[in-house]
């Protein structure tokens, strides 16, 4: 038995529990989500675990817990850190008491994100230490070390795994006793109140801490110089794992500076490495953080060494790295003239992008709004969630997507600019709670007449069905007071509020037309459970009358329906029997049958 196979997020959660974490808060976001879920799942019973309403709230909850001496973990994805930036920047000045770890998952690619921002860079901006794991196993050790360091320097410590750390599995067999760290309660002290005079003093202290931590990081077990030779590689995080495999496959021994504790930058270690090599290739995903620091160190110490990387076009500046990318970069930097391996020919296959699931209620909601606004000039602002996929043909119902909550506010900005159209914002239930409410209040206050369509499927679907304030259930599966979206819209002063069934296409379309004419902001709540969480009772079949006109496909684009060779087929294993396609058929050739 060589351990249990766990994904990196499950392994990091175990690290937090072993470190004695007491409070865990976060907001779901791929690829970070399963860290918090795992703590909840294997909770020994005395850990408070919550999905907070957004990342800023989560950060502040963790900060409050830390002020009482509790070890606290807050989890989010990289763009979530933008939302939580306000409390984090100030926390660097205020400091922490109980160890506080801020887990921020970066997403090179990006695979499921809006940006390729680099949290290592953010850590430097915030003057906070950051650890960057190369394997899930290392991430476990880093989680524990981060709590220790946080208490030692009285600062939040950022742990920055990337998607391939979070979602890769690895054999894991550690069973360690849990460290007992009992919170001793909040002690009143002026140091917890951030006034300008205190900020000035703490800023000086914070700069001093940067130098002290940089010295510590030169001796960190997460940093090392390995191998030998005058040719060097400097690599951090997952890029180190790719580089290691590439070097092994090439039989090319080189001196490698592996950096897991990246900022404050371990200059002493880096300088000793730079003194031993003539050329260095830097391999790191996302920003050129290590490269810039090495250039700085080389300049400061007048070292005669060539540093290659993103800035010299020796390594890709964007996108996820890979074995192939690392190998090509190493060959390009050290073996000029070597012809690159020929890429294999592409397979003759059509693309298969992600699509809204068969039976998804968002498809029905989009379809109803599309029908209602047909022939009218309308702009559909979109938001972050499964329903962003509504932008694809044939629905084409998402004209903009920026960030969480921006559907509601971008629609307002367009109206303010005099854009001659009806502005309809689509936002999911979890996103509405996250940052849609403030936009709604703004719409009421500033007298716009946008229509907000809340697509309420009673879960945070995209990230894997997490509960939220509207579901009446906490992360620990306790019953809580459900916050009613329609009631909240009324309380905010919306001029028109209505709840609808998206699968009642005609009724929903009529309500959309009515809402669109209202003077003042209107809110439509489309209520229907996520298709992934219901057991279908029916399935659709195509009967004799089908002429192969493909209207069903062109209207709704359901992945269960396909048309090859002029024939329409509905894949029974995918069909949820939602009946939307039945409505689209001009020949009434599609019918529902009962699932046995």
């Amino acid at each position: 038995m060589s351990g249990q196979l766990l994904i990196g997020n499950q392994i990091m959660a175990r690290g937090a529990i072993a470190a004695g974490v007491r409070v865990v808060s976060g907001y779901p976001g791929t690829p970070s989500t399963e860290v918090l879920e795992t703590v909840a799942e294997i909770n020994p019973g005395d850990i408070h675990v919550e999905w907070s309403v957004n990342e800023k709230v989560a950060m502040e909850v963790a900060a409050g817990a830390s002020m009482c001496g509790a070890r606290a973990l807050v989890t989010m994805k990289q763009v979530g850190l933008n939302v939580a930036a306000d409390p984090l920047m100030s926390l660097a000045y205020l400091g922490v008491k109980g160890g506080m770890v801020v887990l921020v998952a970066d997403d090179p690619g990006p695979i499921s994100s809006q940006t390729e921002q680099d949290t290592r860079r953010f850590a430097e901006h915030a003057n906070l230490p950051v650890l960057d794991p190369a394997t899930p196993g290392e991430a476990y050790e880093m989680m524990k070390a981060a709590f220790e360091l946080s208490e030692k320097v009285a600062l939040p410590v950022i742990l920055r795994p990337t998607t391939r750390i979070c979602h890769s599995t690895e054999a894991f067999s550690k069973e360690e006793p849990r460290r007992e760290v009992l919170p001793d309660g909040f002690r009143k002290d002026p140091k917890w109140v951030i006034f300008p005079a205190l900020s000035y003093r703490n800023h000086i202290a914070l700069e001093g801490k940067q130098r002290a931590i940089a010295k510590m990081f030169s001796k960190s077990p997460f940093n090392a110089v390995l191998g030998e030779g005058e040719a060097g590689i400097a690599a951090g995080g997952m890029a180190y794992s790719y580089a290691r495999e590439a070097l092994a496959s090439m039989g090319a021994p080189m001196r490698v500076l592996k950096l897991g504790a990246v900022y404050p930058f371990p200059e002493e270690l880096a300088v000793s490495f730079l003194r031993s090599v003539k050329k260095v290739l830097v391999l790191e995903e996302l920003d050129d953080v290590i490269e810039q620091k090495l250039l700085e160190a080389a300049g400061k110490h007048h070292l005669d060494v060539e540093i290659m990387g993103k800035r010299t076009d020796h390594a890709p500046v964007a996108g996820e790295y890979s074995f192939e990318a690392a190998k090509a970069a190493i060959e390009g930097a050290f073996m000029p003239g070597l012809s690159a391996e020929e890429a294999p020919a592409c397979a003759p296959v059509p693309v298969r992008p992600p699509v809204l699931c068969a039976g998804c209620s968002h498809r029905a909601s989009f379809y109803a709004v599309k029908k209602a606004m047909r022939g009218k000039n309308a702009v559909f602002t979109g938001d972050i969630g499964c329903y962003t996929l509504g932008n694809a043909a044939p629905l084409e119902m998402v004209d903009t997507c920026l960030c969480m909550g921006a559907s509601v506010t971008i629609a307002q900005g367009m109206q303010c600019a005099g854009n001659d159209a009806k502005h309809i914002a689509f936002i999911g239930d979890s996103t509405f709670f996250h940052s849609g409410i403030t936009g709604l209040v703004n719409a009421v206050y500033n007298k716009t007449n946008i229509t907000i369509a809340v697509l309420n499927n009673a879960t945070t679907a995209m990230t894997g069905h997490q509960p939220h304030p509207g579901t009446g259930e906490t992360m620990m599966r306790e019953v809580s007071q459900a916050v009613d979206i329609a009631g909240m819209a009324k309380a905010c002063g919306a001029a028109y509020v209505r709840r609808l069934d998206p699968f009642d296409t005609e009724g929903a379309a009529a309500a959309v037309r009515e809402a669109a004419e209202v003077d003042g902001p209107s809110v439509l709540v489309f209520d229907s459970a996520c298709a992934a969480r219901i057991k279908p009772k029916f399935f659709a079949v195509v009967g004799e009358g089908c002429t192969g006109c493909k209207r069903c496909i062109r209207e709704i684009g359901c992945p269960a329906i396909s048309g090859i060779g002029g024939r329409i087929g509905i894949e029974k294993s995918l069909c949820m029997g939602c009946s939307l396609c039945v409505e689209t058929c001009p020949q009434q050739a599609i019918r529902l049958e009962v699932r046995k």
Binding site: P559, S562, I564
Partner: protein, 197 residues
């Protein structure tokens, strides 16, 4: 000795569970194992692929292009899409039932089943089975992943025997699902065909 298995399919077909079963069988045998998967947005009916790397302590979680020992594909076009990761002489087991993407119907892109199968046959040591049909007969299309694993292990494509795969499967599935999946496993064993060497 490192051994790499790639599992390709469409979101919802159960590639992640299949990779977990192989990974567990490997871990139970004492091999350090890593897997790399697609989770999140890309899952929603999109192409998904799981990388299983057996004896891989010093390797990354993703199988490099041209290095996979075996490719198990739950859908023909997904087999073709990922064939470039298979090494020369690598084996490829393909479920024959096509799932044309809805976008190809909308965008008028062709899904040419014959061409796809031809491409796979010409570029790999391949074997085609009606895994979907076998899964349906066993009681549920959802067991396709287990059917394909059973066929692969019976054909000797994996470095484990069928018993080891069954044991790993039992360790991962909820009790109520074990019986149906064992039925699916038997159906998969019956599908076995000769791989041309």
């Amino acid at each position: 000795m490192n051994f790499d298995v790639l599992i390709a399919g469409v979101g919802g077909q159960g590639t992640v569970l299949a990779s977990k079963i192989i990974g567990k069988a490997a871990a139970d045998k004492g091999f350090f194992t890593r897997t790399g998967e697609t989770i999140g947005m890309a899952q929603r009916g999109g192409s998904v692929v799981s990388h299983v790397r057996i004896d891989s302590e010093d390797l990354s979680p993703l199988i490099p292009i041209g290095r996979a020992d075996v490719l198990i594909a739950f859908e023909p076009s997904e087999a073709a899409r990922n064939l470039c990761r298979l090494k020369k002489g690598g084996k490829c087991l393909v479920n024959t039932r096509p799932m044309p993407p809805v976008t190809s119907s909308i965008l008028e892109e062709t899904y040419d089943e014959k061409k796809i199968i031809e491409y796979i046959s010409q570029n790999s040591d391949s074997c085609f089975v009606d895994g979907s049909g076998a899964a349906e007969e066993a009681g549920s299309i959802k067991t396709l992943n287990v059917v394909m694993l059973a066929a692969a292990s019976e054909m000797g494509l994996l470095p484990f025997g069928t018993e080891e795969i069954i044991k790993a499967m039992e360790g991962l599935l909820p009790e109520k699902a074990v019986e149906m999946n064992k039925k699916a496993f038997d159906a998969g064993i019956k599908l076995v065909c000769e791989v041309e060497l």
